[in-house]
């Protein structure tokens, strides 16, 4: 249904345009002034200022392997994350823990653990599926490299990003 919109009659001041133009110029010069004196909040100047400090707790950045307070790599090479990973970014080669080791009853450890960050979609499925609390999504988001090989995070790199995790269940300690 067509509606006829009533056009209000302009008075002579409005038809002169000049007051409106002057008002507009005043508004823009105010913005100009405020920005120049730093009273307006402008875009973050990214490489110099980063938003790391304001990232939320649940932020999903780069996945990483963690050690616990005993210094043990928590991953037991069960390969659940490798299987669940939607873009198949994870590659694990399991190895056997020698019987002389303090954690011999764990039986397996990852000999190699690669995450291809070109493929990773930061979905967090690996963290969700992990029965050992071994892989976590940390807050690193600027992952760059010059070649595809550089973009593959190997075990050392993943452990370096992950660091030591406090407050996780230590189910493989001798007492249990």
């Amino acid at each position: 249904m067509a509606i006829t919109v009533a056009r209000s009659k302009l008075n002579w001041r409005e038809r002169l345009y000049l007051p409106a133009i002057a008002a507009g110029m005043v508004i823009t010069i105010k913005h100009f002034k405020n920005t120049i004196f730093g009273r307006t909040k402008v875009t973050m100047q990214y490489p110099e200022e980063k938003w790391d400090s304001s990232l939320p707790e649940h932020y999903r950045g780069a996945p990483a392997l963690v050690r616990d307070t005993d210094g043990r790599v928590r991953c037991v090479a069960c390969q659940l994350c490798e299987f669940i990973c939607p873009p198949r970014a994870i590659k694990i080669i399991p190895g056997e823990i020698p019987s002389t080791d303090r954690f011999a009853k764990v039986e397996k450890y990852p000999e190699e653990f690669d995450i291809d960050m070109v493929r990773c979609i930061f979905c967090g499925m690996c963290e969700e599926v992990c029965p050992e609390q071994a892989i976590f999504l940390r807050k690193d988001y600027a992952i760059t490299g010059f070649t595809r090989e550089e973009m593959v995070h190997d075990k050392d790199k993943l452990l370096e990003i992950g660091g030591v995790m406090h407050g996780v269940v230590l189910k493989w300690n001798e007492k249990k």
Partner: protein, 368 residues
């Protein structure tokens, strides 16, 4: 015509183009980007060099290295000619504008010719040929529309542009631009003719038509230089860049720089005609109320300082006007085409015409 004259003229031409106009053009582009950003609560280019000051150099290098592509369907000769025609008139016009008093006895104007403002109009109008030729030679729809719009816009605004300056020359009685500046030093600036003659009612009355004239002329210069709110020939949103759609690399850059050069020239002419040229009134320290004229006629180092001060004054005024150009651009939206024609033919033309008679009447009645 002696060696001294030729040498100083050459020095002035080279200095004007390579030391003043071209750097000013490139930094006007930078200023435009910064001013627009600040008005829109952004920061603008601030990466290349301190505060982004080397941005124009980076831009120029980029333009030089880009592929200079000539589309197959264009009319080659005119396609190549158009960018030159866009840039040349803007730079040529500056020749008659006095940008300073004197420096070491040399008048600071490249060509002090007695047809001054006529020369300016004659050359500045050629600027439209660059746009029309570009639109036509591109052999493409949007550039063609841009070219057509440009020519009709030019016709509607040249008239009020020409009529708006007549009051100035009614007062001065001479077309030479250096005389216009001299007159303003002696009798107050054109937009404030009452300065120095405060009790004279006629001068106060005269200020009304002179200010009207100033506004009409300034708005016509906006239209002449294709600046918003009158940038219909380019109209990015409707015409995809208008006349320069088919241009790339340095040829596009010439159009772009030509627009800014025209802006500088336009501001220089506004400053010369209405805002006192290179003159900055300073209150005298000898007591009494009269304005001290600083210029290059004083002997020795004081003359040199005075001359340089006048040049600096002139370009400071031009820079202020350039800022106003940018300020207006980032405030007002573009006019619709019929509004533009209506404004040109029904308002500014009449206002400018009536203005002439008012000034003539005031001059005849008060006899100054």
């Amino acid at each position: 015509m002696n060696v001294f004259f030729i040498t100083t003229s050459l020095l002035k031409i080279i200095g004007m183009i390579f030391v003043v106009i071209l750097p000013m053009v490139s930094y006007a582009v930078y200023a435009e980007r910064r001013v627009s950003a600040l008005i829109q609560d952004r920061l603008g280019p601030n990466r290349v060099g301190p505060a982004g000051l080397f941005q124009p150099i980076a831009d120029a290098a980029k333009f030089l290295f880009k592929e200079d592509f000539t589309p197959a369907q264009v009319n080659k000769f005119y396609y190549w000619l158009a960018p030159c025609l866009a840039m040349v008139p803007a730079i040529t016009t500056i020749a008659v504008v006095p940008f300073g008093s004197t420096l070491l006895g040399v008048p600071m104007v490249i060509a002090d010719i007695n047809v001054g403002i006529l020369y300016v109009f004659a050359i500045a109008s050629l600027g439209v040929y660059g746009i029309v030729l570009a639109g036509w030679a591109s052999n493409s729809k949007y550039p063609f529309l841009g070219g057509v719009r440009s020519s009709s816009q030019m016709i509607s605004y040249e008239l009020s542009l020409g009529l708006a300056v007549i009051p100035v020359f009614l007062l001065v009685g001479n077309l030479r631009l250096t005389n216009v500046v001299r007159y303003q030093i002696e009798n107050g600036w054109m937009i404030a003719p009452f300065i120095g003659d405060w009790a004279n009612l006629g001068k106060w009355l005269l200020a009304i038509p002179m200010i009207t004239s100033f506004f009409v002329f300034t708005i016509a210069v906006f239209a002449e230089t294709n600046r918003l709110p009158f940038d219909l020939p380019e109209a990015e949103q409707e015409l995809a860049g208008g006349y320069h759609t088919e241009y790339s690399s340095m040829k596009f850059a010439l159009f772009f720089l030509g627009e800014y050069a025209a802006m500088i020239t336009g501001s220089a002419i506004i400053v010369t005609l209405f805002l006192g040229g290179w003159h900055l009134p300073l209150p005298s320290w000898h007591g009494g109320f009269h304005w001290l004229v600083v210029d290059g006629t004083a002997p020795g180092w004081r003359g040199v300082v005075g001359g340089l001060f006048n040049i600096a004054t002139f370009f400071a005024k031009v820079a202020t006007l350039l800022f106003m150009f940018m300020w207006v651009r980032w405030t007002l939206p573009r006019f619709r085409y019929d509004q533009l024609m209506r404004l040109g033919w029904l308002f500014f033309f009449e206002i400018a015409l009536v203005n002439i008679f008012i000034v003539a009447g005031i001059l005849a009645y008060f006899q100054f």
